[in-house]
Structure formats: C-alpha cells, structure tokens
Amino acid sequence: MLLVAISVFLFFFLRDGGALPPPLGPEEPEVPEFSFVVKNATAFPLARKPRIRTHRKAVEQVKGVLDRFYVAGFIDPGQWEDGRFTAALEQFAGPTAREARRDLPDLTLGKTAIWLNLVTPEEGVLRITLLYERAGNPVAAIVKARFEAAGDVAGEPQDVSIKHSGEYILRRVSGRWAIVGYRVLGKIAEQSVAATGGSPSPTGPGTRSPEGTAP
C-alpha cells in the first residue's frame, strides 16, 4: 500500500520531464549581478600622459576593488557571514582593514543584513581620479562611489531603500590595489514598512534595531 502511495506521489512530482520541483518553503534568492558604471576616469600624470591601455587597465582594476567591496558588503548574502564581512575587508590594505573593521556598520550593511533576504542594486556610479608617476605607472586613485539599492526585508511587503556614498583612496600595495583611506555616508531608510501589528513609523514603536546598530 505504502509503495503505491510513494509511486503515485513521485509520479505527480516528477512528471515534468523528470525535473525535481523546487524545494518547498522559501527559496534562496539568486544574487543579482552587480558592477559599477564608471562615469568618468581622470588621469593626473606627473609627466607624460599615460597610455590609453594603461589607463583603462588601471581603471578596471580600481573598479574591480570597488565592485568586490560592494558585492561583499551589500549584495551577496553569502559573503555577509553574520556581519563579519571578511570578503569586504579584504579590499583594504592591512592597517586600514583594522579601522574598517571598526567602521563596518557604516562601510557595509552592517547588522542590518540580518533583516534582509535580498538586495537588488539600482544604481552604482564611480568617478575615478588616478595619479600617474613620471614613468607613466598609476600609483594612487581617489574614487567617489554612489550606490543605491532596494532591500527585501524578511516578512515585509515593502523594500527598504539603501543608499551609500563614499570616497575611497586606493594605492598599489604589494602589487594589488587596496583601499587605504575612506570617507563614507551610509543611509538605510524604510519605505513605509509597517511593523507587524504595529506602527508604520520608521522610528516609532514597533521598530527594532539589531543590537549595536541603532543610531
């Protein structure tokens, strides 16, 4: 009898070409692709102008650092590690990483991450200025970044708006570009998210801050 039941059960579930159905319950959302758009990239040569190819390569490398940093810090839940953000910290030079660890709540989603199922990037723009030494090699970069995204909050119908802007100073450290300084402004704002059975006010009753991130 039980064999019959299982057979029928399997028949119904496997009849779509043998493909397994999606698991029941909430799916792990797919991590959106993200890459900054470079709005402008200025070269500051100390002597002759850098070769176009050199400049493009440097811009790509610098952009890569910021791409990786924002993906790890904002977009990919797989890299949040319950708020440790190790992959994001890897984009900083050694001594700066220590400071960045302290500033994680402002440099990344911080502990806000625990409320979010998915972050969908909406805008990411970079303005890059590169300093070239006399020989034409890039040695330092100053980057202005603007990032906007919508965060899908677990159990809430409305997204939260995530805005983050920053200025980053990068230098070549041990053959790779790394962030050596920063100045950021992070803002995560609720968009009419009503507390379950409570107030829709962002800061009023019904709003709870994860430990350590309250303003």
């Binding site: 059960f9 698991p23 700066t96 200025t129 809430e156 100045r183 950021v184 995560i188 709870r208």
Partner: protein, 304 residues
C-alpha cells in the same frame, strides 16, 4: 481502497511540506512575530592613514635665491623653515630661521646659514639645522622664486591677512592691511619683503611661515571638499620643487596634511639679535632658542 490511497497521499504530502519547511525555511521568516527592519539614520565614517609609527615628521622647507637658469639647490637659501608634524595629535610647528643666522656649518666652519646650501646643497643645510636644533630632519624640499610663484598660481592663490602696510620697491610688495588673496607674484613679494616688517628679517621669516599656514588651510579645506584635489597639489608641487621625498612619501604626507588642523600649528621664528661678524651683518641666534628646539624635539608641538 481509493480513499485510503488518497488519504495516504495527503498524509505524505503534509509530512513532506512540513519537513521541507522545517529544513529549508529561514528563521528570519518567523511569520507574524517578525519585527520591522531597523532604521539607521545617515551615518558617517572616515579614516585616513597616518605614518605607521606615528613618530614626529620633520621637513626642511627651503626657498632658494636661484633665478631662472640657475641651479635651485646650489644657491643661497633665502628662506629656511623647519616644519615639524605630530601625526597622532594632528598638530605641529613651523620654525623659521633668519637667513643671516651665524652658525656652524658642519665641516665648513662658521658662516651665515644660507651659505650651507651653496657649500653642500640641501643635505648640508639640513645637517646644519639638525646640528643647531638637535631635531632630526626627515626630508628637505627646495624651491626657487619662480617655482614658488608658480606653485601659488597652481593652487589658485593664497589668502593671508596683511597686518601692516607693506610697500617695498625691492620686493615689489604693495599691500594695505587687511585680508588679501595673493596670486603667485604677489605672494612672492609678500614673502620677500624684509623692509616693511618692524623686525626685518625675523618678520619676513614669520610672514613666510604664514604663507605656509595659508597653504595648509587651503589644502585641508580643498581636500575636505574633494580629496582628488590632493593630486593636483602634488603635481603642482613636484613640478616646482626639488626634494628627497619619493612620490609615495609625498602621498603619505598629503594624506597626513589633510588631518592637520591649521589652528594647531604654531608659526615661530628662532629668536636672535642682529650683530656683526667681521664686516658682515649677521644674526646671532639667542640662547632662548634652545628652549624652542627642545620643545619641538619632544613632540613637534610648541608650548603644549
């Protein structure tokens, strides 16, 4: 029989659904008890690197007497300033030396301090100042009249408060008291005028220090608005100076300068008195200068 099969299927489906949810369901989806997301107001954070050991940094800034076509680092030093920076406290001191200061030049005997650069370039002048003060000098920077003027133009001028009337044909200064924005040529005249200040060369050296402070103030303000400004300053600087600083060190210093509060930088001139050495008019640095040197040597900060 058919009913039992359907009941069995229903039961199996229910068990599967509960099981799947138990294993796959996120604890964050706690249903009706889920609180609203935390709201963080706009928050700022920032960090700029400082030299790793936070030790005192001392630079000798030299204005050379060189005219166009002459070697900037082999002429007499018209202005000599020791700039000490305490990275940890974001403060420092500018200490000027009258160019006629009569001092011992290592290996060359006693002479006016400005002769040291003729005799051995900036390194010998740095060695001379180091011996006088006991303060270790890390770097030197030397510029010419033209270089100075170009640098000031390259950063779109400097703003200083002229404290007294300055009308001097020799230097070309022609300023009434008040706040003035000086372009390169005017800044050079302001820096060279030793006839208008009541105390001659001492006042001139002080005015040169005030121009440096004006530059620091302008730089910190510009950096705060747009850090990329630093690259323009570095480029303008390197095109118009000779220095033993590497580009990397210069970037380090630029990032450090952005963290210095100009209000925490004292501008002083080594005290002394005008006298004669043979037939030459010279400045004898006074014994009280030792107190200043000692104070700067400790932490780069004067009187605090």
């Amino acid at each position: 029989m058919r009913l039992r099969v359907l009941a069995g299927l229903a039961l199996l489906g229910l068990v599967a659904w509960i099981g799947a949810n138990a294993f796959l369901g996120s604890p964050r989806r706690a249903g009706a008890q889920t609180p609203t997301v935390e709201i963080r107001r706009a928050q700022k954070a920032g960090y700029l690197p400082r030299p790793s050991n936070d030790r005192l940094i001392v630079i000798l800034a030299i204005g050379s007497d060189a005219r166009p076509g002459e070697r900037v680092d082999r002429l007499r030093a018209d202005s000599i300033h020791l700039i000490a920076v305490n990275p940890r406290r974001g403060a420092g001191t500018i200490l000027g030396f009258p160019r006629d200061s009569f001092v011992n030049i290592p290996g060359r005997g006693t002479a006016r301090i400005n002769e040291a650069m003729v005799l051995g370039g900036p390194p010998l002048l740095a060695q001379t100042v180091q011996n006088i003060t006991g303060i270790r000098i890390d770097y030197w920077v030397v510029t010419s009249f033209k270089g100075f003027s170009r640098m000031v133009d390259g950063i779109n001028g400097l703003t200083v408060r002229v404290r007294y009337p300055m009308h001097d044909r020799a230097s070309g200064s022609n300023f009434n008291p008040g706040r003035r924005r000086l372009k390169g040529g005017h800044a050079l005249a302001f820096a060279r005028d030793r006839h208008s200040p009541r105390n001659g060369d001492f006042g001139r050296s002080e005015n040169q220090g005030r121009l440096m402070l004006a530059a620091l103030k302008k730089f910190t303000s510009a950096f705060a608005g747009n850090p990329a400004t630093m690259f323009r300053w570095i480029r303008v600087g390197l095109r118009n100076v000779k220095t033993d600083l590497s580009l990397g060190e210069l970037i380090d210093l630029g990032l450090l300068a952005a963290q210095i509060d100009p209000g925490k930088v004292r501008n002083v001139v080594a005290p002394g008195s005008v006298g004669m050495a043979g037939s030459a008019s010279v400045v004898h640095l006074s014994g009280s200068a030792q107190r200043i040197y000692r104070d700067i040597r400790d932490d780069g900060i004067l009187g605090r």
